[in-house]
Symmetry: C2
Amino acid sequence: MIDKLAIIGVGLMGGSLARALRERNEVGEIVGYGRTIANLDEAIELNVIDHAETSIAAAVDGADMIVLAVPVGAMREVLDAAAPAIGSHAVVTDVGSVKQTVIDAARAALGPRFASFVPGHPIAGTEQSGARAARGNLYEDRRVILTPGPETDPTATGRVTAMWRAVGAEVVSMPAADHDRVLAASSHLPHALAYALVDMLVRLDDHRSIFECAGGGFRDFTRIAASDPVMWRDICLANREPLLALLEQYQENLRLLGEALERADGEWLRETFARAKRAREGLHGPGDGE
Amino acid sequence: MIDKLAIIGVGLMGGSLARALRERNEVGEIVGYGRTIANLDEAIELNVIDHAETSIAAAVDGADMIVLAVPVGAMREVLDAAAPAIGSHAVVTDVGSVKQTVIDAARAALGPRFASFVPGHPIAGTEQSGARAARGNLYEDRRVILTPGPETDPTATGRVTAMWRAVGAEVVSMPAADHDRVLAASSHLPHALAYALVDMLVRLDDHRSIFECAGGGFRDFTRIAASDPVMWRDICLANREPLLALLEQYQENLRLLGEALERADGEWLRETFARAKRAREGLHGPGDGE
């Protein structure tokens, strides 16, 4: 049970956590902070938060659980503003898609209170954003990765784990560097590739026909290209080394694909496609299948 | 109304058309031909077809509508086998994802009967295959592209148009070369990119973690990598020139993306992602959104 929850950034992720904890009676008071008044007003109206504060310090004051749900590039600024007001019993966590840069920011901003910071990343979300997109079931049966380090207070990790389990998530733990490398592959590269494809197609002369003739495959493939550009700019910058390494490797794979097409090598294509199909079919979960 | 429908290739596409016409009482008898007895038996059991023939000639004999629903690479062989048995009142159409190579095959195989061939491509389907995947509503509100040429008999085009409209599809017409260029962009390139990504990831040391940490975005992005490898090998080979041109252009776009990441150019990333988001949001239709 959380007495006072501070949500810094009341968008899809932060708002859905607030909703989920409220629906399960796991929280007393919920305070929100955000950059835009309109979104905060909407969050209050939709009963996502109880009230809004106009400063981060006021929002975290007295909170026993502080959740940072802002784009990764805004974490340092938010942590600096929050640091002086974080209470001695408070635990701080985040939902950022990249962990090492957020950990570095937290270490620099929080000083001795860094032990109370539990880096986290729920593998959930949609291409939508804002408090209006918040849903109480967003985290049900989803995975939350925590990346506590040797300095992290195990009690803090325990409280963050309990919070996520309370909203139906499965909590796993791994080193931050592993998280960042794995997520570069499973999430950051696919987002970058989808953005690059849609951006290329919209600049073609045929773009009207191309979009008109788009089938379900194209819709699925490019859905993530409707994600928030600022959030994804931040993720790509924060995780650019693992992302660049994978992008290079992918470019090499496309070079091989192009060569196979050039020489009309049907066997290479069939084998590659079949290997991918087998791997993809091993992946089952929410939102999958017809 | 079709008296005798011959479905050559009773998979997702052919089977769904059979089901849809039957459900709407738009067809008398439905005969199926296919390579595997097990699939044909299943098609009969599921009432997708009335009976199966063990030769293409027997299947098309007496049919007034012949639908070729085999992988693009098998079209020539199928057309050659069908040609001598095609009746004088029969119309022939196909559901191939590439049009020019199928048209060339039909011209060579059908000789004087080429005027009765109406090249078609329904923009529908899932990553599933086989008669068991057939659904009577697959074509509802979907687009079917016909690419008749100057030699095509307008009556034949009219009969194929009426068939697709009867199952709820919207029929549009365009030159075959336009179709192939547009579909290379909206469908063939995305499939090739998804196959290449999944194939790359499954060969990484981290592949278990990567697949375990896959969220909804990854599932959407890679769903098409579970499509039939033979069908997609054929499509890639049949349409390799437009596909290669787009693949090259995409590689150039990835080179620019890599450079922007190298120099940590947040503005370039944000602008590119925002342009893609706007374009993607303009795209709405079946299977989209939460």
